[in-house]
């Protein structure tokens, strides 16, 4: 007589080919086993038909549209939360770096002082109505070049002077 366990495995195709052949032979002289096998078949067929019929009646026309809409919504939320997460993680670091950069720039500019050109006064000559100054200015923007400036300042004639 075929055991319940072997019968089930036989029905489900879970036995080795050799064992399945053995069970098949034993079933020939086992009416109870044959009856049980018939019941298994009947149940499988009924369940299969019922589920298939339910799936056939179902309308899947809008399923993909709804799934797609949900996916898009989730993607949007995910992108937004990714940015929030990035801000939460790195925002403080980035803000600190920006503040440090600004402070650094201010400090550097202050320590360098105002930009000034080196100026050498060559001579100063005075006349009755004018003051002339000759000086050379080294231009830092143009290495090695000097500019000579002659500065003439007219002085106002004394009142009452003829």
């Amino acid at each position: 007589m075929v055991t319940e366990k072997d019968l089930q495995r036989y029905f489900d195709g879970e036995l080795s080919p050799a064992k399945a052949r053995k069970v098949y032979r034993e079933l020939q002289d086992d009416p109870a086993g044959q009856q049980q096998l018939a019941e298994y078949r009947q149940l499988r067929s009924s369940l299969g038909q019922a589920t298939k019929a339910a799936a056939e009646e179902a309308n899947f026309d809008h399923l993909w549209t709804r799934v797609k809409a949900n996916i898009k919504e989730e993607d949007a939320v995910r992108s937004s939360s990714r940015f929030s997460e990035w801000l939460r993680r790195y925002g403080l670091v980035v803000a600190s770096l920006a503040v440090a950069l600004v402070v650094g720039l201010i400090v550097t500019m202050q320590s360098a002082g105002p930009v000034s050109n080196d100026c050498v006064i060559e001579s100063i000559e005075t006349g009755p109505n004018a003051l002339s100054t000759i000086m050379t200015i080294e231009d830092p923007a143009i290495a090695g070049e000097e500019t000579t400036v002659i500065w003439v300042t007219e002085t106002a004639a004394d009142e009452g002077e003829p």
Partner: protein, 197 residues
């Protein structure tokens, strides 16, 4: 030529929504079939199907192909159905067979009445049969229902069912054995009641 699941999964992981649409259309009926068998009504089954595909998409990035794609899908669907029962307060998770070892199938047979006279196709139209089967499935625990549906409707092997449910093939065998017997008995009782009425 239709691309196989693995190819489509890789395309989905690279952000191809069109590939995911093909997977949805390929599996929608099977997912719905399991969901319908589990939850027992069309509206909830469609909701579970939709949620299943959304969850599948959400978790695709983490799918490494260690299991086949469809067993992974079934795992998601079965878990969603069980969540659905929990939310609706319809939980049936008593697994009688878990008290019985895999070698004790004979003992299970001894505690379950004979089903020799059961013929579910007899004098029943398709709708009546479906109602009876739905009622029969309702009587089973979530795990028993999942096992019998995956085996009888989807044709999954014991190994695949074990993978989906995260249990041994021995447990699958004993659950399946119990579920079949229980279904037969319940259906027989329901039919007898129907004949009396």
């Amino acid at each position: 030529m239709n691309p196989d699941d693995q190819t489509l999964v890789l395309q989905c992981q690279a952000g191809d929504t069109g590939a995911f649409q093909i997977l949805v259309e390929r599996y929608q009926r099977r997912v719905y079939g399991i969901a319908f068998g589990m939850v027992g009504n069309a509206e909830d089954a469609m909701d579970v199907t939709q949620d299943a595909f959304i969850k599948i998409h959400r978790n695709l990035a983490g799918f490494r192909g260690s299991s086949s794609f469809y067993t992974w899908i079934y795992r998601i669907v079965v878990n969603l159905c069980i969540d659905h029962f929990r939310k609706s307060g319809r939980v049936k998770n008593v697994d009688y067979d878990d008290q019985v070892g895999r070698e004790d199938a004979g003992e299970v047979a001894a505690i379950v009445p004979s089903t020799k006279d059961f013929d579910p196709g007899r004098a029943l139209d398709r709708r009546e049969l479906r109602e009876l089967l739905d009622k029969g499935l309702e009587e089973l625990s979530d795990n028993h229902r999942a096992v019998i549906l995956m085996r009888e409707v989807e044709g999954l092997s014991y190994g695949e069912i074990a993978e989906v449910l995260g249990c041994s093939t021995g447990t699958v065998m004993s659950r399946l054995f119990y579920a079949r017997k229980r279904m037969a008995v319940v259906l027989k009782e329901l039919m007898a009641k129907g004949e009396e009425a």
